[in-house]
Each structure stands twice: as structure tokens, then as C-alpha cells.
């Protein structure tokens, strides 16, 4: 590969200026003439109830009210689910695990606090809100199910007739030859194990806390087109899902993606689009703006899947991993949303270590909580938090060096780690572990912390993990990109790539500039325009660079192939011999015979016959390169995380002192952006394990639905972060890049758990690990209870 000029450099983000100046146009910044305002009337006092009577007569008389949409008004539309499995997995498989779209736009069966009852359209937001207060609702309260046990009780009220027993989803073990997802003989594995470890874990309900609250505009225009402005992280699937929901042809639906103020999975699939579009269709011609308050975001947009994980593992005395048996039971919340999160937990657990026997099963049971959906990591943070702590318990008990165990038993390149017949091509786990041990000072810290006394105790912990670079082979992977070469030798890339703030638009522009041999300034990426952009899945599964990066690279290469073909014809040489430098095309053999790229492109468009010989200088026509790229590989990155914590044994308070995080990402397209992405992941991973959890009262009402009451790690809470990027060979990703979007979040939780274990000799099976839990455990058990006994 020739030397890279733009890829691999930490160039400034293409959207830095618009964001720093505050001029980035978020959906709420867009003001349409004579726009109306929508307000969703939500059930805030019950988590489970039937609506007996919905009386809008008082609300209709309120000033400014234009229309009120009730459940009867939306019966003509389909029901839906918010997720995208209906699009990303084949119908046959969706039938196997029972993919459903049971969610009506407005409901008469309230399944969680904040469920939508009806929608007000008014002239101003204040008038819409005031009218919403005047809607009179009578309810029949139903029993509230907050745990999977309560909801799956035989006598429990059924959430939907399609899902008996309120089992929203079950891992489709029957798809596999052994009758379960995994391999080997589980009973035999345990019989042959010297050491058996098991634990019943709880993983918490984490909220995305993206900075931009959900905000939308929709307008059904006079050409009968439904236009919607949304900061969805999946604009093209949203277009398709709106087509399925409202029955409009896709040619009549335009999705304008606005600048995304953070996503992390909360903007995966549909959120508020069905409401704002239903309102727009009810008042043709008028634009509707719909803003969620932060509280609405909390009660009505999805969270991470929470629940219990029963994990049991068997080892030989020497640490040989004999058998893994896990059952994850997620609290689904009120609606089906996404099918497969629980299964993804198992897929990623299976991909990590060479257990001789492996079984993963699980389900997701409806509960009367806010529905769970996608959240950065998609099942991996939950399983890793438990598995890595249980492995550490075995290592501590047996005295096996945890670093050596991880080095010895991680999966290698090749094989079929996930069980879908797709081998991985490389593995940098050893390099990652070595670099981490050295950079963190693992052995030095162990020595320093060896003999501690006093109330404050330090401990170190680590974990190893593996994520993915895309959804393939489990889910569809596909991005289409086109590149139009302008007549002045600049380029417009058309691709529906989402940038959640992590720098995808910059990295993709770098890839395009590199592939075209242009400067960054000569390339512009046109995103967020569903008319101009062809299909792309959207941002999820750490897949944008892997798939969309390759798509854009191939589209650019296609364009350059056309350039060289034209130039070769003119120079009468073989196109394979041509090179381009500073937009001058020539062969190495005859460097003075030059075609100027700008002239070639200009005259392809402004193509006039020469008055002298009535010939055209170059082939006529504008060059548009195209790629419709569907990868057939998914090389995951391995990562290791090392942390040091200090536990105040008298108060249970915990300080994360240091965090070293190492990832074999292949070639970073933009190293600074990657580091920022990883630090952000670490911040959310620390919150997931230490402070973040949605609390409910016994009636299913959320107790902490604001940033005052729900606390994530802020910038000043962050430990010193040492991010190490290990560059390993990558044969498939664009310019050798792998996906890195989610890995940062999966890592710190188990490392912190293991560091606490190192510091005080106690493990915790319920996250987040709060001072309250730590102090209670110390008071109950004393420090290092196992060693003392």
C-alpha cells in the first residue's frame, strides 16, 4: 500500500466549527413558517392500566388547539416496533424468534409510565402543553410487574396475545444442531470440571443521557410527500419503517437527518417519528414540531436492557476453561422493541474464550418499565461485567495469574467464534495485554499495593474483551455510496452515514479524500438526505467505518477507475500504468505526458467539439462512482482495560484513580477521534458499573427521571485515562481499520469490579457498585472474608 496522506492523521473534525459556534442545526433549531406544535399526552400516574375513558372535550376548547389525535384516529395505520430486526434479519428467522410489531401509536393499554395516549396539535408549544393538561382520562389500574418473575407468573396480565407468558423473546436455540446456542456437552463439562463457579448477577437499567433531547419536525406537503426532520441514527431504516407503518410509498417519504446531539443507541430505529408523522398527516400542508422534555425522554425512550444473568462456569485446576453455561433474563419493559439483545450477549461471550463446552440461553420478559432497546455495547457490557468477574474469582482462588489466564485462553484468529460460519482473520489480544500491562504498570502497582493498612485500600483489576466491527454475520450489513466528481475536480460523496458525534463524517471524508487523491477541502460528504442518499443501515454495532468506510472507498475507486479509463484513452496507454499526483495524471514512463484532472472532468461536462477537427478532447459525460457494499467478514477488535481504585472502607466510597485502555483497532483513520470515542465509552462504562441505574417505586413510577436525580460520570469524575491504540494487520476493513464505537463502554465495568475485589476481597453481583452496597458488604463480611475464614 502506498503511503497514506490523510488516513491515519488526526485532522480536525469536519463539523467542529458548526458545533463550536453553536450554528449546527439540530432539529429544534429549524423553524418552519407557520409551524404547529405537537404534544404527546402520556400516562404519568400508572405503569400498567387500561384506559376506560379518554375525554378530550375540555382540551379541545383550549386556546390554540387545532386538532387532537386519539387512538381511533390512528387505527387506519399499522402497528410497529421501534427496532429494526424486521429489516435486518430474514423473515424466516424473524418468524422463528417471533418478531412482532405490536406497538400502536396511541394506546388504550398503558404498559409503562409515559405510554402515549393521544396527541395535541396546537399553535404554540405552550398551548399544546396547556391543552394536554386538560385531557381527562379514566383508568382501570392493572397489577404492576417490575421483575421478570412477576411478569411471567401464569396469572399475570398478558401484554400481547402474540407472546404467551409475556415472553417477548427467547434465544432461538432450536436453530442450532445441538438444540441450543453453543457447542459440546454441558453436563459432561461440569462433570469433568475441578472447579465450578456460579453467580446470579443483576445488570442495571442505564439511560443513554444523550445531550440532545428528542426533537422532530414533520410536514405532509402539497406534493403528498411526508417530510420528516429527525436526528435518528438510522435515517434510511426510519424511512422504510415509516413506509411500513403509514403505508406510504417510499418515494413519498423523505427523511432529513439533522445534526445528532448524541445517540448511543437511543436513536436506533423509531422513537418519536410515528407521533410527529401521524400529526403531520392529520393536518396536511402544516409543519409540526414535536419536542420531548428530558423527563419524556426518560419515561418514553428506550434504555439499556437490565435484568438477571445466571452464569456458571467449570474449569480444570490449572484454569483450563471447560464449560460455560449462561442464562440471561432481561426485563423487556412494556414493548417488544428489539429482538436480539439477549442473544448478542451470548454471541459476544462465546467469541471471547476457548471454553470446551458452551451454552447460552436467555429471554426477555415484558415488564412495566420503560422499554429496553439498543445501547452502545448491545448486550456485551452486561455479559462481560459478569463473566470477567467470575473468571477473576477463579484466578484469585487458585492463584492463577489473571493476565496469563487471559493470554492463554482467548480465542485466536480463524475458527468460528460466534457459530455463524464466519471466521475472524486476526487477533491482537496478546499485544493488547502486553501493552496494557506495561503502560499501566500492572506488576509495579500490585507490588505497591501488596501490604496495605488503614481505612483506604487500593486495588487493581483488569479485563479482556472482544466486540465487533459490524453486525454481520448476525445481521444485515449494507451501505451504498456514490461519488460525483465535479467539473472543477472536487467531489461530493452521497452516503447516508450517521455521525453521532464520534467523528464518522470526518473519518469518511478522510477515506474519500485518500481514495480519490484529493485534499479534505475538495471533498464534501452529503448525508442525511434520503432522496439523494441510497441505502445505509445507519450507525450501530460499531459498523460505520467497517462497512460504510469500505463502501465510500470503493465508490471513490470506481470513480477513479473511470477517470483513468478516460485519461488512458487520451494518452493511448494502459489505464493500469496511470498514476495521479496533485491531480495530474501520467505514466511513470512518460511523466511529461500529462492529463490535467480538472480539464478532463471539466471537458467531460462542458464537452464541445473542437472547431478545428470536430472532435471531443475527452470522452463525454460526468463521472459518478458507485458502490453497494455488503461485507462478508467481521474482524472484531480485542481490548483490555486496567484500572486502579481506592476504596474508603469506612464510607464505602470509591475513587477510580487510573484507567488504561488498549484496543487493537487495526489502523485508526483519525487517531484523536478514536481516543475521544474510547474515553467517552469509558465514561459511560464507569457510570454503568458505579452510579447509573433507573429506580422505580413499587407502582412502577420512575424516581430519578432527571439529571438531578440520575447521575452519570461527569468530566471531573473521570480518572486519568491512558488510551493505547495497538496497530495490527487488518486485511478487510478500509485502510486496515476495524470498528471501535462500542468497545470502550464494555471494558471498565468488570475491570472496576475486579479492582474492588483486589482492594477489599469482596465481589458484588449487583451493579452499580455504589458506596451503599460496598459499605454494607464490608460491615457484613469484613475485608477479605474468604481469606480470613
Amino acid at each position: 500500500m502506498s503511503e497514506l496522506k490523510i488516513v491515519g492523521k488526526s485532522v480536525p473534525k469536519v463539523d467542529a466549527k458548526i458545533k463550536v459556534t453553536g450554528r449546527a442545526m439540530y432539529a429544534d433549531d429549524i423553524h418552519m413558517p407557520n409551524a404547529l406544535h405537537g404534544k404527546i399526552v402520556r400516562c404519568m400516574q400508572y405503569a400498567h392500566a387500561r384506559v376506560i375513558k379518554l375525554d378530550i372535550s375540555r382540551a379541545q376548547k383550549m386556546p390554540g388547539v387545532v386538532k387532537i389525535l386519539v387512538p381511533e384516529d390512528i387505527e387506519k395505520y399499522n402497528t410497529y416496533n421501534t427496532g429494526v430486526m424486521d429489516l435486518f434479519a430474514p423473515d424466516e428467522l424473524n418468524a422463528v424468534w417471533g418478531e412482532i410489531g405490536e406497538e400502536p401509536i396511541f394506546t388504550k393499554h398503558v404498559k409503562h409510565q409515559g405510554d402515549a395516549l393521544c396527541g395535541i396539535i396546537a399553535k404554540t408549544e405552550a398551548e399544546a402543553e396547556a391543552a394536554a393538561e386538560m385531557v381527562d382520562v379514566e383508568y382501570e389500574p392493572l397489577p404492576v410487574y417490575l421483575t421478570t418473575e412477576e411478569a411471567s407468573h401464569p396469572d399475570a396480565v398478558q401484554f400481547t396475545p402474540e407472546k404467551p407468558g409475556n415472553v417477548a423473546y427467547r434465544v432461538p436455540g432450536g436453530l442450532f444442531p445441538e438444540g441450543f446456542y453453543g457447542y459440546g456437552d454441558i453436563d459432561k463439562g461440569f462433570a469433568e470440571s475441578d472447579l465450578i463457579y456460579e453467580e446470579d448477577y443483576y445488570v442495571p437499567k442505564q439511560k443513554h443521557c444523550q445531550m440532545e433531547p428528542h426533537s422532530y419536525i414533520a410536514q405532509f406537503d402539497d406534493q403528498d410527500r411526508l417530510n420528516v426532520w429527525t436526528s435518528s441514527q438510522m435515517p434510511k431504516p426510519v424511512q422504510t419503517k415509516l413506509h411500513k407503518l403509514f403505508g406510504l410509498p417510499m418515494s413519498r417519504i423523505k427523511v432529513n437527518q439533522t445534526v445528532i446531539g448524541g445517540g448511543f443507541g437511543t436513536r436506533l430505529g423509531l422513537i418519536g417519528e410515528p407521533y410527529v408523522c401521524a400529526m403531520a398527516l392529520a393536518v396536511p400542508g402544516r409543519a409540526i414540531k414535536l419536542n420531548y422534555t428530558r423527563e419524556e425522554d426518560w419515561v418514553a425512550s428506550e434504555t439499556r436492557h437490565s435484568g438477571r444473568f445466571k452464569l456458571k462456569m467449570g474449569f480444570k485446576k490449572d484454569g483450563t476453561p471447560v464449560v460455560y453455561d449462561g442464562y440471561m433474563s432481561f426485563e423487556k419493559g412494556g414493548y417488544y422493541t428489539h429482538g436480539g439483545v439477549v442473544w448478542v450477549s451470548g454471541i459476544l461471550a462465546r467469541g471471547a474464550y476457548k471454553f470446551e463446552n458452551f451454552r447460552f440461553d436467555g429471554d426477555a420478559i415484558f415488564t412495566n418499565k420503560v422499554p429496553c432497546g439498543a445501547f452502545r455495547g448491545y448486550g456485551n457490557p452486561q455479559q462481560a461485567l459478569c463473566m470477567e468477574q467470575l473468571i477473576q474469582r477463579m484466578c484469585t482462588d487458585t492463584g492463577i495469574d489473571t493476565i496469563e489466564w487471559h493470554k492463554k485462553w482467548h480465542r485466536e484468529a480463524g475458527g468460528d467464534p460466534w457459530g455463524f460460519g464466519v471466521p475472524t482473520m486476526n487477533c491482537g489480544a496478546d499485544e493488547v495485554l502486553d501493552r496494557g500491562v506495561e503502560s499501566f504498570g500492572w506488576h509495579e502497582k500490585k507490588e505497591i499495593n501488596a501490604n496495605q493498612s488503614g481505612p483506604k485500600r487500593r486495588g487493581t483489576g483488569m479485563m479482556l474483551g472482544v466486540h465487533c466491527s459490524a453486525g454481520f454475520p448476525v445481521l444485515l450489513e449494507h451501505t451504498v455510496a456514490t461519488v460525483t466528481l465535479n467539473e472543477d475536480a472536487t467531489a461530493i460523496i452521497n452516503c447516508s452515514i450517521s455521525d453521532l458525534g464520534c467523528g464518522n463524517h470526518t473519518a469518511i471524508t478522510q477515506i474519500a479524500a485518500e481514495a480519490l487523491g484529493f485534499s479534505m477541502d475538495d471533498v464534501f460528504l452529503n448525508w442525511g438526505d434520503s432522496d439523494a442518499n441510497a441505502f445505509d443501515i445507519g450507525a450501530h454495532a460499531s459498523r460505520t467505518i467497517w462497512t460504510a468506510g469500505r463502501a465510500v472507498k470503493e465508490a471513490c475507486e470506481d470513480a477513479m477507475k473511470q477517470v483513468y479509463a478516460k485519461a488512458a484513452k487520451f494518452l493511448k496507454v494502459d489505464p493500469a500504468e496511470l498514476v495521479m499526483e496533485d491531480k495530474k495524471i501520467f505514466t511513470k514512463e512518460a511523466p511529461d505526458q500529462i492529463v490535467d484532472l480538472k480539464e478532463l472532468l471539466w471537458k467531460g461536462i462542458y464537452a464541445f467539439m473542437s472547431p478545428e477537427d470536430f472532435q471531443f478532447k475527452f470522452d463525454r459525460g460526468q463521472i459518478i462512482g458507485k458502490a453497494s457494499f455488503m461485507p462478508f467478514a467481521n474482524n472484531p477488535g480485542w481490548y483490555a482495560c486496567f484500572v486502579e481504585v481506592e476504596v474508603d472502607t469506612e464510607t464505602g466510597e470509591l475513587k477510580v484513580l487510573e484507567c488504561t485502555y488498549v484496543n487493537d483497532i487495526g489502523q485508526a483513520i483519525n487517531p484523536a477521534a478514536v481516543e475521544g470515542q474510547l474515553e467517552g465509552g469509558i465514561q459511560q462504562g464507569l457510570g454503568f458499573s458505579l452510579t447509573e441505574e433507573m429506580y422505580y417505586d413499587e407502582n412502577g413510577l420512575i424516581l430519578n427521571n432527571s439529571f438531578t436525580d440520575y447521575k452519570m460520570f461527569g468530566p471531573t469524575d473521570m480518572p486519568k485515562c491512558d488510551i493505547q491504540l495497538v496497530t495490527t494487520e487488518e486485511q478487510y476493513g478500509p485502510y486496515g481499520a476495524r470498528g471501535v464505537g462500542e468497545a470502550g463502554l464494555c471494558a471498565p465495568g468488570p475491570a472496576v469490579g475486579n479492582a474492588i475485589f483486589d482492594a477489599i476481597g469482596i465481589q458484588f453481583n449487583e451493579a452499580p457498585f455504589t458506596p451503599e452496597k460496598i459499605l454494607k458488604a464490608i460491615k457484613g463480611k469484613g475485608l477479605f472474608p474468604d481469606k480470613r475464614a
Binding site: 466510597e653 432527571s706 438531578t708 447521575k711 471531573t716 451503599e772
Partner: protein, 296 residues
Amino acid sequence: MSTRVLPDFEILVPQSKEEALKLLSQYQGDAAILAGGTDLLVQMKGQLKCNCKGENAFGYLLSLAEVPGLDYVEYDETEGLRIGAMATLSQVAAHPVVKENYPGLLESVGVCGTKQTRNMGTVVGNLLNASPCADCGCAILAWGGTLTLEGTAGRREVDVDDFYLGYRLTARKTDELAVELKLPPKSDGTVSAHHKMTRVEHDLSKITVSVRLEMSGTTCKSARIAMASVAPTIVRLKETEKLLAGVEITDQILESVAKSASSEVTPIDDVRSTAEYRRDVAGVMVKRIIQKVCKS
């Protein structure tokens, strides 16, 4: 449901203290007093209870922004520190005498809200908001002082010890304006400190302790201990204080002080912590803060 839209209100902008008092006597509990607004505006958007008691709680906002002469922080050796109703937290923190003589207050101001809210919020407002987890309120209660309340009927001084009547209830009458807070000067052996425990750095208090001790060598002549987030109001731990009066501070004394503090508080479970935890750490916090001030 919270709102993006502030409820309708009329804003009253008196140009003098006299006018402000007149308006207050006219509107009584229907007027919420707007100083820095850092608590009030959140309450309005969250449709919570506010610092006035009327039915139409947010119908009128009485702004002190244009009342002259309320934004002072002054000190003299006889009277001590005088903080005007509109003196911001940042202003108080920046005052050299506060840095020198009132370290407990300084620490409490430094952990109250964020830099942005400290530039807007006022110290007197923090007292008036009557939150059981108040930051400077706790330090002020530990220090001791008086609040000057003025109404059309006249002026009176209320000891901070008598100011809190119950959850979010104060001795301020609806027609009164809290115009000034007075904190007496320190004596030779006065030491003070403040410690706020939170879930993350920028947070409301999980549990807070403030102390003021009058020391003579290693002997404590008298003590004032205040805690926040352990009762319906910020409170003094008067029983625990008694254990410290006139004794030499020893490890043994501190152990009994810790035990007493844990039993004297009456915390509850909420989203920030549990009653059990608060009770457990109350003693540790009191012990540690006394150790800290004795060392300094």
C-alpha cells in the same frame, strides 16, 4: 410532567427595597422572590413547590435584580460578616475575609452547584430555599448567625437556629424580605470546616457535615455541628455537640462522638442514598471532620 415552557407569570421589578416590601405585602404568598433564580426556575419547570406558599405559586415573580444596595459582602471585626440578599455565591467565595476567617463557609460555597450557578445563585437564597440538603445553609447553621427580615411592619432578626420550622418551611413571613445574613466574627481558637458527600462531583448532597469548634489547645471549649440530608431540615446535632464541650479531643472521645452522631440523625431513603447508609457514615464524617480541623 415537567415542561419546556415556563408557566405564565407576571414579573414585578421593584426599584427600591421599600417598593419591594410594598409589593410583597400586596401579593404575600403569591409572589415568589427571584434573586439568582437557580432554584426557582428549576422548580417552575419541574412544577415543584417553591419558596412561597400561595396557591398560585408562580403567578408573580418579585425580582430583586433592580433593588439597589443588596449585593454586598462586608466585614468588620465587631459585627463580623454581613452578606446582602443579592450577594452571589461567587462573590462571597472571592471575599478575602471569607477565605481567611470562614473556611467552612468557603468550602460550602465551593461545592454549591456549579461555577455557572454560583455566579447567579445567592447565599441568602440558599438559606431561603430551605432545602434539607442545602450546602451553605449547613455551614451557616454550624457557624451560627442571624438573618435580618424586613417587612412593611418593620425589621427583625432571626437566629439561624430558629429559622427552619419544618420541611421547606422557614420563619420568614410571606410579606418579609430576607435582606441580610450576619455571621459573627471568629474568636482566637475558632476552627471550621465543611464536607459534602455526593454520588458524583457535581451533585446534590448525599450527606453533608459542617462544624465550628472553639478550641484551646487540644481542648474543645464548645462545638457546633450541623448536618444536611439527614432530616427534614438542615439540623444541628446538639446531643453530639454536648459530648465535645470542654473536653480534650481524643480518639476515645471521637469514637463516642461518631456513635452519637449516627444515632442523632434521622435520615430517609431517597434516590441519592439510603437511610441506613447515611446513618452509618454520619458518625464517620463527623469524626473525620473534627480530626481534620484539629490538625489544621
